[in-house]
């Protein structure tokens, strides 16, 4: 172990030239498991895989290996991306291309491995093969790079995901890792690193798209004795999981990115502000930081360069607003996570009053790549104003979901139709939601739009941190907007009135819109109309007067849904109808006399006793009593209950 460490440090990290001698390369190939005499089985072990049952798969593989092929290596890798394929298993026989298999649950392990080791491969679960130069390819098996899911992606930031053991720093170094960092701290000044990033045109990936190099320079040029770098890994939008996958699959690249960024601004303290709940990712990150420290890549006088760096992980204590920069800093200072007025910006007056740079995970993951390949290389990707790639977490009603990476400038349509393979169950697309709980909706007409900060901003759409939620016609937009508003209301910190009261009032009105009027005389109708007329006003006041980004963007889902789906709101308000049949308060049921056999099943289950009738005669529903719960609809075996 000690020898390997010395070898990697001296012969690889501290090696002066970019191309390594052939004999070093040979050892690295072995570490990368490219030249082995035994089979290697890669099992994905991210959170999504664990939910799908990868731990059971692992123990089944272990049992099989112990009995049949004792020399086989088992490697736990991170998620590759496609969540539908979990547990995702990859098998590499000596000298041959890797084979990828999907949905390998416990019981499929034995037949699969029997097949692979005896050259009788089961094609049902096979996804494809992948390999490089010097590997023998399999006849008649497609290459995974040619499958639409992978072919339309440009995997740069994610290129290590699912390929190496994230708990093994040696393997990361053998894949070219930490060389950009050692080069930066040994050969470049702070200013030079900032310049390279500025030239590359990298923009912050958290949604705003602020140029990263300029941000770093502001902090570097702010006169102070100490500075801080904060990595914002608090991805708490419901439905976004890009950061988590990157952290689980490739924590070392993030550490390298943090280390380079901290060096560039002259900070010797870096803090990762981590999301609560992703225990698995947290363990991996802490382990990775520990092994980087053991390797001498973090700590005092790193590789004799005279540079010191310490990375600390802090777990967020659970408040959505802490994703906002100033609130995040308050939390780190041990105070309530409430935002402050900007300016002064954190780059000049941040943590403990010192200059602080806050970058998100994806931004920092790009940094080692730019340092390694140069700013010109980065400009070959993406568009002129937004170079590089963007990682999205596709979720919702698409046929495939998972983490994908596309070049900036790719049309939204490509992501939807080629990568996610369209909508499930032959339904129609209703909308795509970008940017989580404070994002906006794209409709079928916006599919030609390109993924690009400026193009999206022109249309008034925030690209967000990477949520890409596909919504089909079975979703009610009013209900969805109410769900987001409920989330925002519970997460509003309460410091400023527009956000605190506005979210509450909007939630109340939206609740009235989907609630059944129990009695038309009691003034609920009037109240509803009064409220509806105020909705837009409240939204615009919140947008203009809230203190921080959370309040200013909280009405976004509502405004964008109203713009694109106005008729659906009107149907709810005036016709008291929900076209997706989701809003329980607006559903009314009736019994088809011809179908009803009088079995009494519905009447006995009705929670409000709204169904009357005589046994073996058709029953009927009293509409005034019905609460629209739908229990009768679910229980009827004769399809006699009809939704109106």
């Amino acid at each position: 172990m000690e020898d390997l460490r010395r070898f990697l440090t001296e012969k690889v990290l501290l090696f002066e030239s970019d191309t390594l001698p052939a004999e070093t390369e040979k050892v690295l190939q072995q570490i990368r498991r490219e030249k082995t005499n035994n089979a290697v089985i890669f099992i994905s072990s991210g959170t999504a895989s664990m939910i799908a049952g990868s731990e059971k798969t692992l123990s089944a593989v272990n049992t099989y290996i112990a009995d049949n092929e004792p020399n086989t290596q088992i490697v736990m890798v991170g998620c590759t991306g496609p969540v539908n394929y979990e547990p995702f298993v990859c098998i590499q026989l000596p000298g041959k291309n890797k084979l990828y298999f999907r949905n390998i649950t416990e019981e499929k392990v034995e037949p699969l491995l029997n097949g692979v080791f005896h050259s009788d491969i089961n094609k049902d679960d096979l996804v494809g093969q992948h390999g490089g130069k010097g590997f023998e390819f399999w006849q008649g098996i497609p290459f995974i790079d040619e499958l639409p899911y992978f072919a339309h992606q440009k995997r740069v930031v994610l290129n290590n995901c699912g390929c190496y053991d994230p708990e093994n720093i040696e393997e990361y170094i053998a894949r070219g890792g930490y060389r950009a960092y050692t080069k930066a701290i040994r050969h470049y000044t702070y200013e030079e690193v900032c310049n390279i990033i500025e030239q590359s045109g990298l923009r912050g990936r958290s949604g705003g798209g602020y140029p990263t190099g300029i941000k770093w320079k502001q902090a570097l040029n702010a006169g102070s004795s100490s500075r801080y770098l904060v990595c914002n890994a608090k991805e708490s939008d419901p439905g976004a999981f890009t950061d988590r996958v990157m952290l689980e699959s490739d924590p070392h690249r993030l550490i390298e990115g943090i280390a380079i960024a901290a060096y560039a601004i002259g900070a010797s303290d870096a803090i990762v502000f981590f999301r609560r709940g992703s225990d698995h990712a947290r363990e991996r990150l802490i382990k990775a930081i520990r092994s980087a420290r053991d390797f001498g890549l973090i700590g005092h006088n790193i590789l004799s360069s005279g540079y010191n760096l310490d990375i600390v992980v802090r777990i967020e204590p659970g408040a959505f607003v802490c994703g906002e920069e100033t609130a995040l800093l308050s939390t780190l200072e041990g105070k309530r996570g409430m935002p402050k007025l900007k300016p002064p910006y954190p780059t000049t007056n941040g943590l403990f009053g010192k200059p602080t740079v806050i970058n998100n995970v994806e931004t920092l993951m790009n940094v080692p790549l730019i340092m390694q390949n140069g700013p010109e290389w980065f400009h070959t990707l993406g568009t002129e104003k937004s170079p590089g790639t963007k990682v999205f977490a596709i979720a919702g009603k698409g046929r495939l979901s998972g983490v994908v990476e596309v070049e900036m400038g790719t049309a939204v349509k490509t992501v939807l139709e080629d990568i996610a393979d369209g909508i499930k169950e032959g339904k129609e697309l209703k909308a795509i939601q970008l940017g989580g709980a404070s994002g906006s909706f794209l409709t079928a007409g916006d599919l030609e739009l390109a993924v690009d900060y400026d193009i999206m901003n022109e249309k008034g759409i925030g690209m967000g941190a990477g949520g890409f939620i596909i919504i089909d016609e079975s979703t009610c937009m009013v209900d969805l907007v109410r769900y987001y508003m409920e989330f925002m209301h519970s997460e509003s910190c309460g410091k400023c009135i527009p956000c605190r009261e506005g979210t509450g009032r909007m939630l109340e009105i939206l609740g009235n819109v989907i609630k059944k009027p129990l009695n038309e005389d009691s003034g609920t109708t009037l109240e509803r109309f009064k409220g509806v007329m105020q909705l837009e006003t409240i939204a615009s006041v919140m947008k203009d007067t809230s203190l921080c980004g959370l309040g200013q963007t909280a009405p976004n889902p509502f405004l964008s849904a109203l713009k694109n789906f106005r008729e659906e709101f009107e149907e709810h308000i005036f016709d008291r109808k929900c076209r997706a049949n989701v809003c329980r308060g607006l559903r009314t049921f009736s019994i088809d006399v011809d179908q009803c056999t009088g079995c009494t099943a519905c009447a006995s289950k009705c929670p409000v006793n709204a169904i009357y009738g005589t046994r073996l005669q058709p029953f009927f529903i009293v509409e005034e009593k019905c609460i629209g719960c739908g229990i009768c609809f679910d229980i009827c075996k004769f399809n006699a209950i009809k939704v109106k």
Binding site: T47, G277, T331, K335
Partner: protein, 154 residues
């Protein structure tokens, strides 16, 4: 781990250590007791009201011991689109608890979280660390009955 040995790991009087300290105490003891808040207060040099005010601001901290079975329901957008609201309603009905509460018998605690990461397998619930994908509301009564039976007969 008891409170004093956790406190020993930190330097006194540093406000920025307050949240990690509370988090560690909660991890060790399951909740923040009155004793813990008083001790942390004198350690950091901050009044207990301030600490209580901070701890109630964040969702993570609980002030009553959690139940033997902790049910977490994912209410992220993807699970919401796949029907997590019905799951939440059913759990509410079966356990008689609202999110964040612990029952008087100390068996169940129940929480709502945003996005666990099983976006393709929604709705997802997590019972004492074990994930249950594709949960249907009508499976829940049986599951909850089983869990209650196991705890009561243990």
């Amino acid at each position: 781990m008891d409170i004093d040995s956790i406190l020993k790991k930190y330097k006194p009087g540093r406000r920025e250590d307050l949240i990690p300290l509370l988090q560690e105490i909660q991890e060790g003891q399951g909740h923040l007791s009155e004793e813990a808040i008083v001790k942390v207060g004198s350690f950091i040099g901050l009044s207990t009201t301030k600490i209580y005010g901070l701890a109630t601001f964040y969702d993570q901290f609980r002030f009553v011991p959690s139940g033997k079975v902790l049910i977490k329901v994912c209410h992220g957008t993807s699970c919401f689109l796949n029907g997590s609201q019905a799951v939440i309603n059913k759990i509410k009905e079966e356990t008689g608890l609202i999110p964040g509460q612990t029952g008087r018998d100390g068996i169940f605690s129940y929480d709502i979280v945003t996005c666990m990461g099983g976006c393709n397998n929604g709705p997802v619930i997590r019972v004492n660390g074990e994930y249950h994908p594709f949960v249907k509301p009508d499976q829940l009564p049986e599951l909850i009955r089983k869990l209650r039976y196991i705890i009561e007969n243990d």
